[in-house]
């Protein structure tokens, strides 16, 4: 880790944010069966995949150097997977969310799910931003 430069730290931060998002995702699915994602298994796998790819993006430069193909593919893949999770979270619950802000504001269970969705989405957006910034930067010290 002493060879880490900012890119790796950002990727590590993204992986941690991804874990936060994953936990929020699981929480949002467990509050009420009525609001569980039908594709919960797939979405969870995608979130885990995003986290693993972020870790790959940390490991790969230590072996192949900065901006290597594997870490680049891992970053892009992680961004895609995290984004897919965000999309699934929102699109499957969009009716519930619309209801909370209009005719169904007293749906306390729905609000609990909504808060979990917000935590998940914010965490994954932060993860993606970290991955993007990290992609511009170096991940490890250049060999002399």
């Amino acid at each position: 880790m002493k060879n880490f430069r900012i890119g790796s730290w950002l990727n590590l931060f993204a992986a941690v944010a991804g874990i936060v998002g994953l936990i929020a995702l699981i929480v949002s699915n467990s509050i009420s069966s009525a609001y569980a994602l039908k594709s919960a298994g797939l979405v969870t796998v995608m979130a885990i995949g995003g986290i693993l790819l972020a870790l790959v993006a940390i490991w790969s430069p230590t072996k192949f150097g900065n901006h290597d193909f594997i870490s680049t593919a891992a970053v892009v893949g992680a961004i895609a997977l995290f984004s897919a999770v965000i999309g699934a979270m929102i699109l499957e619950r969009i009716l519930m969310i619309a209801g909370l802000f209009s005719y169904n504001s007293q749906n306390m269970t729905g609000w609990s799910v909504f808060y979990a969705i917000v935590v998940c989405a914010v965490a994954l957006v932060i993860a993606n931003v970290a991955l993007i910034i990290g992609a511009f930067t170096k991940s490890v010290k250049e060999k002399a």
Partner: protein, 1067 residues
């Protein structure tokens, strides 16, 4: 190195932006039609190669000579009709010394902040949209200034409670309209003061009920703080002082017992606050003529105003809609004589209604342990209930029946129990301010029966009996000005102490006179269906149940409201009260005239039996609830059932939604799908419901297509290629007009469609007054014309099915949504809704009244379980729907008219969801009443009991926002995930369920039949198809997807090239 980092970073960024664009695109497409409605865009259009639009067209008065739409004429017609609604529906309650009418040219002071910002519509539900004519304009002006009076509404941040006020449209740049107002000179000083005070006491034209209510009326000190010399203006404007008292109505919230902000000098939300009383006191200082306008859809407690000799006049005006203040002005200045009758009884204290003992938020004591059902997408209140222990004694039925029993001296009626306003024993005159149906006029009328009523009893081949009594009432205008009056016929069935519960008086039917000039007479025929004086007896035939007509003396009376009619009956009976025996008629009914069980066979020939036994709590846990009985008013006065505990397992299972198990292995070969006989939907125009051609048509469909149609009930309704239908935006709200702006029409191919560039294109047709105002007109013809006009609106808006009007009965005054429902009386509600719906059908609009049934409060409305006797269910709530759906008035020898639409309630009936109640949806609605049409759930309701809903008789779900069928919305998606048994829904869920497949066929038949009778048929021939159109939001997200995608690929290539070059350099 820098370049590889740059290209790789940009590639990552583009990947993220591409993903966001795709998410946005999916969200937008899934809600495309809703976005179109609110943004005035058009994302798709139904087109055809043929010449269509020959089935329904707007009236010539709203069309130009070339058949194109005339928006100015349409708006003018709406203004005129809303005005008529207001002047026919407003009810004059008091007019001492004929202070009204007040002549044009009078100098008038308006008091109360609501005079400056009255309630015109509801905060949510039946909101009034766009430019309005407010009270000041109607009283003073002769031309609208729409641009300065746009209806506003408050939005509450549900988390912080912060309230922001917004306009219902950004600005009005269309036409202005001339009108003739009352011609008063108004006290501008007070108008300016209230305008300033609105900065502190926010008010909007659209407001709703609040659980912790504050009328937000400024104090006298507040007024003085703005202008210390305000009283100086009174002298110049002292011809009269008009005070406005308002209470709002809206979806989602109720008034609650004791639910008021502390320190306002009021103990209940519908009582007057101290500041409101002070405003009235100021009016007394301003003038010796004090007029109070009651601007409310609920029964405000105004007994103190009735008894105040310094208050000269009280006029109830409801929530009059966008232009209804013109009608109010017409009454005030005497252009029109008032002719409305009260929609509800106005009690001195609303808490005196027995229903109020059980109103609010009640949960089973052991719900947390036993109730496992979550409630589906909407999130239901599965552990909540209300005990409707008042039995049949809702509204005036309670007060009038108890009054009768006090006079007769039976049933402990005089007991202090239940007395809230009486100084001693229970006393009608103290408990009631104004009775149901009551209303004054500027003229006087003489009523007399023109001969005996004509009875017409016929037994039909199907075993049912038609029994009508036609009362011919001669009405003579004995006053000095022209006027109209309702002719209300009430009835009383013979009651035996301790026998089946009966109201001492009930409305049976009504008509309204034409405009009678002084001295002019008219004989009005009022046809009464004797079916509605029968009583429901659950114990009939050893518990089988049915309607009975006890032999004995039946009384019928005409009267200015229920109390007046009852007094006429009582005088006829020799009781010592003030009344007129000549206005009552006695008919002895025995088996020789009409069988006791004649009405136990419905008009369709169906034997009527108990269908809702589970509605009664005692059915599962006997003896735990006592329903109010006139046998002992004191001993059965409802207690508050706030600690109910569930002990019966069957009961608990039902509350957990265990109604239906989907079969997996039935032989379904008897249900034909995919027959391929070539019959198409466009050929079904005019086909009778029982035509064999329907079976031919539906046999062509695939099971999956049929499931889509029987699931996705709007606003977009899916197409089915096998029968030639296309996905169409077909349904919208609401009872006060179609909720689609002219320039957001869903049918822009119509010759009369208003083009986007039309100056009046942003006009939004939700403009009419709230439902109680319509009911109070007691004018069937006007209600028909209101429905017909909304039907015309629908042709401009391109909406063939309307989610409205509201048709629940007012259980009590605190239901926050009473403004969307007509009345506490089922006949008044039923007649009004029927006329509206049949009027709408004239232009091919299917009106779908809501919420069938028992949506008796907004608190916990999603899934709350109301408990009641079946007698109560049938004689009060369901009777309104029955009257409307049967639409007997419009039947002919060759055609059985009926309504074609319905929205089912969020609530349960007993422990079972209304949406899943076979008794309610099939046995009563379809079999007894003959309903054939679209019966949709409320929004997203009961997704978690899919099999039960599909097989109950409910035809589809309200799935707002779920468009794009066969693309991103499928039965395999997550919308119906999370069934109560843990299963998921998919397109094959009913492959092995014979009952479900048959139910789906029946639902599709009903939906397609309703569609075939609607103005949707204007768009159908063999070539009908949908074209997607390039709207800004679609272009934007597609451009973003392509742009970010292309840039992402480009940057990726540059990254790879840079990386390879670098490697080459390194090597």
């Amino acid at each position: 190195m820098k370049r590889t980092g740059l290209w790789r970073g940009l590639t990552s960024l583009m990947c993220f932006l591409l993903a966001l664009s795709m998410i946005a695109g999916q969200a937008l497409e899934a809600n495309a039609q809703t976005i179109d409605t609110y943004m005035g865009t058009q994302s798709e259009r139904t087109v055809s190669d043929g010449a269509l639009y020959d089935k329904f067209k707007p009236s010539d008065e709203v069309l130009n000579a070339d058949g194109t739409g005339n928006s100015h004429a349409l708006i003018q017609k709406a203004i005129d009709l809303n005005r008529e609604q207001a002047y026919e529906g407003s009810v004059l309650l008091k007019n001492e010394n004929n202070v009204l009418p007040l002549a044009s040219g009078a100098n008038v002071t308006l008091l109360g902040i609501r005079s400056h910002k009255p309630v015109l519509g509801s905060a949510f539900g039946v909101k009034v949209w766009g430019p309005v004519i407010n009270l000041e304009q109607a009283l003073r002006d002769s031309k609208t200034n729409f641009a300065n009076t746009i209806a506003d509404s408050a939005s509450t941040n549900w988390q912080t409670g912060e309230v922001t006020i917004g306009l219902t449209m950004n600005a009005w740049t269309g036409d202005e309209f001339d009108f003739d107002g009352a011609g008063y000179n108004l006290n501008q000083t007070m108008i300016d003061i209230y305008e300033k005070l609105l900065e502190t006491y926010h008010h909007e034209y659209n407001e709703g009920a609040e659980e912790r209510f504050d009328p937000r009326e400024p104090s006298v000190a507040d007024i003085a703080a703005v202008n210390a010399n305000y009283k100086d203006s009174f002298k110049q404007y002292g011809d009269a002082a008009i005070v406005v008292i308002s209470r709002a109505s809206g979806e989602s919230h109720d008034y609650l017992p004791g639910g008021v902000v502390e320190g306002l000098g009021m103990d209940e939300p519908l009582a007057l606050s101290q500041n409101e009383r002070d405003a009235i006191a100021l009016a007394k200082e301003a003038s010796d003529k004090v007029i109070v306008l009651v601007n409310s859809s609920a029964s405000v407690e105004i007994a103190e105003l009735k008894n105040d000799p310094e208050i000269d006049a009280i006029l109830w005006i409801g929530a009059p809609g966008a232009y209804g203040m013109l009608g109010v002005a017409d009454i005030l200045c005497g252009k029109v004589s008032p002719s409305g009758g009260l929609f509800d009884i106005f009690a001195a204290k609303n808490m005196s209604a027995p229903a109020m003992q059980n109103m609010g938020n009640f949960g089973y004591t052991n719900a947390a342990e036993l109730i496992t059902r979550g409630g589906g997408t909407f999130g239901g209140n599965t552990g909540r209930y209300i005990m409707e222990a008042e039995g049949i004694y809702v509204g005036y039925r309670y007060y009038e029946t108890r009054y009768y029993d006090t006079v007769v001296g039976q049933g402990n009626a005089k007991s202090k129990t239940g007395a809230y306003a009486s100084t001693g024993d229970w006393n009608y005159d103290e408990e009631v301010a104004y009775g149901f149906g009551y209303g004054l006029s500027y003229t006087t009328f003489d009523f007399a029966f023109d001969g005996d009523p004509v009875f017409d009893v016929q037994k039909n081949k199907n075993g049912s009996v038609n029994a009508y009594a036609t009362f011919n009432v001669k009405v003579t205008n004995t006053g000095s000005v022209a006027g109209k009056t309702p002719v209300q016929i009430y009835g009383q069935a013979p009651y035996t102490l301790g026998g089946i519960e009966k109201s001492a008086i009930q409305l049976l039917n009504y008509e309204k006179t034409k405009l009678l000039q002084p001295g002019e007479s008219e004989t009005v025929a009022v046809k009464v269906d004797l079916e509605y004086i029968a009583s429901y007896d659950s114990s009939l035939n050893n518990g089988e149940g049915g309607y009975i007509l006890d032999p004995g003396a039946y009384y019928f009376a005409v009267g200015n409201g229920a109390h007046d009619a009852l007094n006429n009956v009582m005088v006829k009976q020799g009781l010592n009260v003030a009344g007129n025996a000549d206005l009552a008629y006695q008919k002895d009914i025995d088996e020789s005239f009409l069988s006791r069980t004649a009405f136990s066979v419905s008009k369709t020939g169906e034997k009527i039996t108990n269908q809702l036994p589970y509605s009664d709590w005692n059915y599962y846990q006997p003896g735990e609830v006592t329903y109010l009985s006139r046998a002992d008013w004191a001993g059965t006065w409802p207690k508050t059932y706030d600690q109910m505990t569930l002990t019966n397992q069957e009961f608990i299972d039902l509350l957990n939604g265990k109604y239906y198990t989907i079969a997996k292995n039935d032989d379904t070969s008897s249900v034909i799908w995919e027959e391929g006989n070539g019959t198409k939907f466009y050929e079904m125009w005019g086909e009778d419901y029982n035509s064999e051609k329907w079976e031919e048509l539906i046999n062509n469909m695939t099971l999956e297509e049929a499931m889509y149609l029987a699931t996705y009930g709007g606003p977009s309704i899916p197409g089915a290629s096998t029968i030639g239908t296309v996905e169409t935006y077909m349904t919208e709200n609401a009872g006060n007009g179609v909720a689609v702006s002219l320039n957001a029409s869903k049918d822009t191919s119509a010759p009369w469609a208003i083009p986007v560039e039309d100056p009046n294109g942003t006009w939004h047709p939700e403009v009419f007054g709230n439902s109680p105002l319509t009911a109070s007109t007691f004018n069937p013809d006007l209600c028909y014309r209101l429905g017909a006009f909304v039907g015309e609106e629908s042709l401009f808006a391109g909406i063939p099915i309307l989610w409205g009007p509201g048709l629940n009965t007012h259980r009590h005054a605190y239901n926050g949504r009473n403004g969307e429902y007509y009345s506490e009386d089922p006949i008044l509600s039923g007649v009004t809704a029927m006329e509206f719906a049949i009027g709408a059908l004239k232009y091919g609009l299917i009106a779908a009244p809501k919420h069938y049934a028992f949506n008796d409060q907004e608190t916990n409305r999603s899934g709350v379980a109301p408990y009641m006797t079946e007698q109560r269910a049938r004689e009060v709530e369901l009777r309104a729907y029955q009257y409307a759906f049967e639409a007997t008035k419009y039947d002919t020898d060759s055609f059985d008219q009926g309504m074609r639409g319905l929205m089912v309630s969020f609530s349960k009936i007993g422990p079972i969801e209304c949406t899943a109640s076979v008794g309610l949806m099939t046995n009563i609605l379809a079999k007894e009443w003959g309903f054939r049409g679209y019966a949709v759930t409320d929004i997203y309701d009961d997704f978690d009991i899919y099999g039960a809903v599909i097989t109950s008789g409910t035809t589809c779900y309200d799935t707002r926002g779920m468009s794009g069928f066969y693309t991103n919305t499928t039965l395999d998606g997550g919308r119906f995930a999370g069934q109560i048994d843990g299963s998921n829904v998919d397109a094959h869920v009913f492959d092995g369920d014979l009952k479900a497949q048959e139910a789906i066929k029946a639902s599709v038949h009903k939906i397609l039949f309703a569609m075939s009778q609607s103005n949707l048929m204007n768009r159908y021939d063999a070539s009908t198809r949908v074209e997607k159109l390039p709207v800004a939001w679609r272009t934007a997200y597609q451009a973003a997807e392509w742009g970010f995608g292309a840039l992402g690929v480009l940057f990726a290539i540059l990254y790879v090239v840079a990386k390879l070059n670098k490697k080459k350099e390194e090597n």
